[in-house]
Symmetry: C2
């Protein structure tokens, strides 16, 4: 607990800045659209200076796509198994002692590999702060849903599924554009999609979203929930069938995943992902003081 600092969750399109107090309290937060794409490679020094002018000339710890090859500097990946201490030891310092970027995580198995950048702070923050058990299955749903296996406080392996991105692709650009015209609800149509996902044939199930409406078997208005059920059902079937994962998510997406987990015989616990991020950056920062 060694002093106040700024934490920046700097993603592709959005940015959230926290002023973290000595005891891990969040003294101030702000959110804007100055994500990595908008800021551009040359803009990070000025952006960091502007944050300090607004919020105080404090040390700054950045996480997320700011550490990618499209960000401020490439902060690399820490290989699994990885603990929060490994993140702290591998910080990429921009100004020694003053500005650092958290590295991502990589997993390389015999038959597959994976990467994450940003979610590692929440996962390992939740683990190290005791928000979740030190051995557990964790998930962060979203554009890319991350499933992380934690054992004795370390992420040993993880898998990314493009579940949320796929929903957006279908909604905006596919044969289902127009038919998927709203957010999904955890209703009967959603659960029907989850049940359908027990048979692993996503490419055919997705055409069925349209065929069912053409043949009058389901209303057009149910398409969004049903398609979401197909995707989240496929995600849970592959990664958490019968398991009881801890899900770091907001309430809407958390509820959908919890329903799908229950349909597959498990029980999900929703965990506050903002608290997990703050826990993560506070612990990392304390480790390098």
């Amino acid at each position: 607990m060694k002093g106040r600092f700024l934490a920046v969750d700097w993603g592709t399109t959005n940015r959230r800045v926290f002023v973290i107090g000595e005891y891990g309290t969040v003294e101030h937060t702000e959110r804007d659209d100055h994500g990595v794409v908008k800021v551009g490679r040359e803009g990070f020094v000025q952006e960091a200076a502007a944050i300090r002018r607004r919020l105080g000339d404090l040390p700054m710890l950045c996480a997320g796509m700011v550490g990618s090859d499209r960000g401020w500097v490439d902060a690399g990946y820490v290989p699994c198994p990885a603990r929060i201490e490994d993140l702290a030891a591998a910080l990429r310092w921009i100004e020694p002692g003053r500005i650092a970027i958290v590295p991502g995580l990589s997993f390389e198995g015999d038959d597959r590999a994976d990467t994450m950048r940003g979610e590692e702070v929440q996962f390992l923050g939740a683990v190290a702060a005791g928000q979740v058990p030190s051995t557990a299955l964790l998930a962060q749903p979203g554009t890319h849903c991350k499933w992380a296996h934690v054992a004795d406080g370390a992420i040993t392996r993880f898998t990314t599924a493009i579940t949320g991105e796929m929903f957006a692709l279908l909604k905006d650009h596919s044969l289902l554009a127009g038919q998927i015209d709203r957010a999904a609800e955890d209703d009967a149509a959603f659960l029907a999609g989850v049940e359908r996902a027990r048979s692993p044939n996503l490419l055919a199930h997705l055409f069925g979203v349209r065929a069912d409406v053409l043949l009058g078997r389901r209303s057009r208005e149910e398409s969004a929930s049903y398609a979401s059920g197909l995707l989240i059902g496929a995600d849970v079937a592959a990664h958490a069938a019968g398991a009881s994962p801890f899900i770091l998510a907001g309430p809407e997406l958390g509820r959908l995943y919890a329903r799908a987990v229950a349909a597959f015989g498990g029980e999900a616990t929703i965990v506050d992902s903002h608290a997990a991020f703050v826990n993560g950056v506070r612990l990392i920062w304390d480790l390098v003081q």
Copy 2:
């Protein structure tokens, strides 16, 4: 064999017109972009008149999306099991004896439903003309890949997978846009994707296309073939594992599917889909004379 006529394969974006001779010979063909979307609901009468002015004042048999709710008139669906005689009996006549539209097919099972519109002419044409056995598994890959089970000359059930559309969505709009920048080849990367598809976790495998390149496990240039292998592999795994299907396709796509079928222990036979269409319209037209 009762006289010459015009056959129009009238799809969403393209149109192909055939002048069919008395013995099923193709006397002339032309292809243009006057598909259903471009023509619009009010334009079909004039378009048909223009075709007749160019190619002769002959009877006209139309198939494809021209018979959908966005086409000239909705020609409905014939339920499975369906033979070529059922298509002929259910033609939607615009001018009696002069202009007709072929209906689509529907399948409604206990747990799923499906539709096709356009492919039924090729499938049942190939069956009725003896291009394929009267009991077989047939496929028409493309934007939407159709898998049809034929028994004693009738399509008894079929399944649509959005395989080709998914490749286009990923190529044009996803995190893989830019990384998938070419057509797929039936190379080692394609076969690696097919092998990966044995485990049914498409949403995760697709993120792996990116992670493998980020971690240096596969070159960016191999991404298109690998992603295609993931998708076609998933399609074949779900619909033709160990089977020996007859595939109505052009040479490039036919070769990719044949390689995936072989990887799953079957043997594919490529069938000329243009000949199948001509056989289909000739047989349907003869049945209504």
